[in-house]
Symmetry: C2
Subunit: 461 residues, 2 copies
């Protein structure tokens, strides 16, 4: 059996702030980044890749936290870890000293998710299956064992979770067949970043319509006039029947959110996304009541399953936009998907960033096949950038994700991309003022190489 011999962690950053890709009312200069880990075994064919997504500074903090989270894997039997991903997750999570720094939130939780993403990638590679298919082969009991149901029993018991999965099990194959024909429906945010000019907005909206999208999302939350002008352009291009979503990226207080959204009602948005603080369950419930029939959506900053539990319990949202990296990997995603199914809330995962599309396609396919069996109101985000850095990039045609076919969680980045964009020593950053400044800062402490942290050890066979 292969043994985990160590891991490499990379602080990878892409200079997206140069083109205003990803700009919104809260995040004006994001450098889309990934704190990325490759878990190695003594079998060169068996490894696992995982990451968390950040927007620049602080990516190195996540990388440091991932190192600490991954240390207990070294020296362990890889098959054991992959065969019982729930046990592996609970063991990594059980460090009570690290728990103090959350619990279940912020940097430590992102780090746990990144490391477990690598474990799930390794599990899928080891099974020779894309992750969604590995999940589809698991029994209801295995899936519930993998899920993190801690603190959820007042909303979802283990028995209820089993019932949901068991009821859908006999018809899984039909839905796999259906999705292999149709793909999983998605929408695009590529058109609507706040930093884009009106002309660029109009052109990109038209391109999205031409590419078959029926859902288009725009960033709002700048000035009132800008919001109205941009929504008018988008509605003009996409026509009265297509779906237009808006996203404020948390810039408003609750009363302000209500007023600002009501002012945009004439453009008939399908949903307002992140109208206020992502932690404000009661605030989202109040906004939802006030802006009906406009829906309320949130989740990309939904910190953990306990937050989602309360969003469901209080009727605060119409759409659950869980994030593959904000939650602690598949283990916590499963719990949220199961709760969403019980409460009848469609899951429309957040994506974009670096590699989030690659991950969430697996989660959405599994959700439809084994949990929800429903596509009503469900679209998964798609943003068309940075896919070229992955060995198994997602593929979207006619507004739908094509089912991934290669083994793994589509999480592996190209070595050439790591060499170029590792911060600050990669070839791209080494030539920039930002990279040079960071190198100077680090040089005061140590001579860190392109690899943020490289740990070796563990018993050899």
């Amino acid at each position: 059996m292969p043994v985990i011999t160590g891991f490499d962690i990379y602080d990878v950053r892409f200079p997206t702030s140069q083109s205003a890709d990803g700009s919104d009312a809260m995040n004006k200069d994001a450098d889309y980044s990934a704190a990325y880990i490759v878990v190695r075994t003594d079998d060169p064919e068996m490894f696992g890749c995982g990451f968390t997504f950040t927007i620049g500074r602080g990516n190195e903090i996540c990388a440091a936290a991932m190192e600490r989270r991954a240390l207990p894997l070294v020296g362990r039997d890889a098959q054991d870890l992959c065969a019982a991903p729930g046990t592996t997750y609970r063991e990594l999570k059980s460090d009570s000293q690290l728990r103090w720094l959350g619990p279940d939130k912020g940097v430590e939780h992102l780090a746990l998710g990144a490391v477990m993403n690598a474990v799930w990638d390794m599990a899928a590679r080891s099974a020779g299956l894309p992750l969604w298919k590995l999940l589809v082969t698991m029994t209801p009991e295995q899936l519930v064992d993998a899920a993190d149901l801690t603190y959820l029993s007042d909303a979802l018991t283990r028995e209820e979770a089993l019932q949901i999965l068991t009821a859908m099990e006999p018809t899984r194959a039909e839905r796999v067949e259906e999705l292999e024909r149709t793909g999983y429906p998605c929408y695009t945010t590529s058109a609507g970043w706040l930093g884009y000019s009106d002309d660029k907005l109009r052109r990109l909206c038209q391109e999205a319509v031409d590419a078959g999208y029926r859902h288009i999302k725009l960033k709002v939350g700048g000035s009132r006039e800008d919001d109205r002008r941009r929504l008018a352009i988008a509605r003009d291009v996409i026509g009265p029947d297509a779906n237009l979503m808006i996203d404020a990226n948390q810039v408003w207080d609750v009363p302000e959110a209500i007023t600002r959204v009501q002012e945009l009602a004439e453009f008939r948005p399908l949903w307002i996304e992140e109208p206020t603080s992502p932690d404000d369950i009661l605030g989202h419930a109040a906004i939802r009541q006030a802006v009906h029939p406009i829906g309320v959506a949130t989740g990309e900053h939904g910190m953990n399953r306990v937050l989602f539990k309360q969003l469901f319990q209080s009727g605060a949202i119409d759409y659950c936009q869980l994030d593959a990296c904000r939650l602690a990997s598949v283990n916590e995603v499963l719990a949220v998907q199961l709760m969403a199914a019980k409460f009848g809330i469609p899951v429309c995962p957040h994506a974009g960033g670096v590699g989030l599309c690659e991950l969430v396609q697996h989660l959405s396919i599994f959700d439809y096949v084994a949990v929800s069996a429903d596509l009503t109101g469900r679209v998964t985000e798609f943003v068309d950038h940075l896919h070229e850095h992955f060995t198994d990039p997602c593929l979207v045609t006619n507004g739908a994700y094509v089912l991934p076919a290669k083994p793994g969680y589509s999480a592996e980045m190209l070595q050439s991309s790591l060499n170029e964009f590792a911060f600050p020593y990669g070839t791209f950053w080494a030539a920039t003022p930002k990279g040079k400044e960071e190198q100077q800062r680090l040089a005061q402490r140590n001579g860190a190489p392109a690899v943020f942290a490289s740990v070796s050890g563990g018993q050899q066979r």
Copy 2:
């Protein structure tokens, strides 16, 4: 005017796991730790000390995050930063890339709090006043400008905050005089750690009664039998009239918490503390309703002001146990104190750990003098350990904190303690297996000295 020339950050850990001090149902082997920063200026008399409290592993992650948070201070005018602590806070907090890693929670938020604690310490030193007295000299407008009211307007407007402070302003001096006579009431947790034997529990309860305490807190959440036996011992020693509080440190789900607390009702606990996940607002509300007249308390893991807002809005708690380091320093504490006053919830800050008692005494004194003007139901935690590492340790007599008199936030640690307990190179740790193992790990990367990070720069006068 003095200029910030740099800062030193220390990863300080005390080997408390050796004596089971601090042991509870969730945290069995805590090494009480502080990620500690000293902000330096070109005037050797002007500096600021701050820290966040952790329980061991991961303290280095907080230290790394603090370095990133503090970098914008270097080269700045110290008096400017101290004169407008709200502006300083908002500037440090405004880094949208670091915000992504929270927002307002986890490691990044702890780091912001630690750095701002140092700024407030410097502001108080610069004014030649203990922090509580600096706050008491500030006008309602200055205090509201310093407070972080973001996302709170549906519960507390700026005008309401001003009204609360203005109403109490004319009588501040009377309450200062009162507290200078009586001290600020506290309770002790020193007796009730879960790892202590029954004999030790009985002896410590008796000592607490003899020392004048009328409130005693016990850890629960182990086995049913242990909980009942330990509560019986404590009630036997302290008598029927003294207050007995219990603390489950988040080990229960909501339904379990209700059952377990109801089973302990005969011992008449004043409150059940942390019955479940600290993020579960609706869960705390359900527990409170079910276990009445036993009160519900939480807050040491209360991640930010938005969580406390909802705990208040939903009637989820009887006691607000805010933490001086979990919240982002005085700026966010002010907001929570003001909301608590509006909603009529007594604030009984969490303390213990490393240096938390030193900090919260200032916050409680200010709360009574300028915000609540009420001592009903209010006691601040006190745990009698690790005070010997501070230059201005708190002093408790007759169950009350004596008002601190030295300039600053009582946050400065002795250089000798840093030299001994800096992890892993301090003289204590260097001689332990734990310290040697960590040295070996770090040596693979760099030759970090006792100072975790030492940054220099900024313009000289």
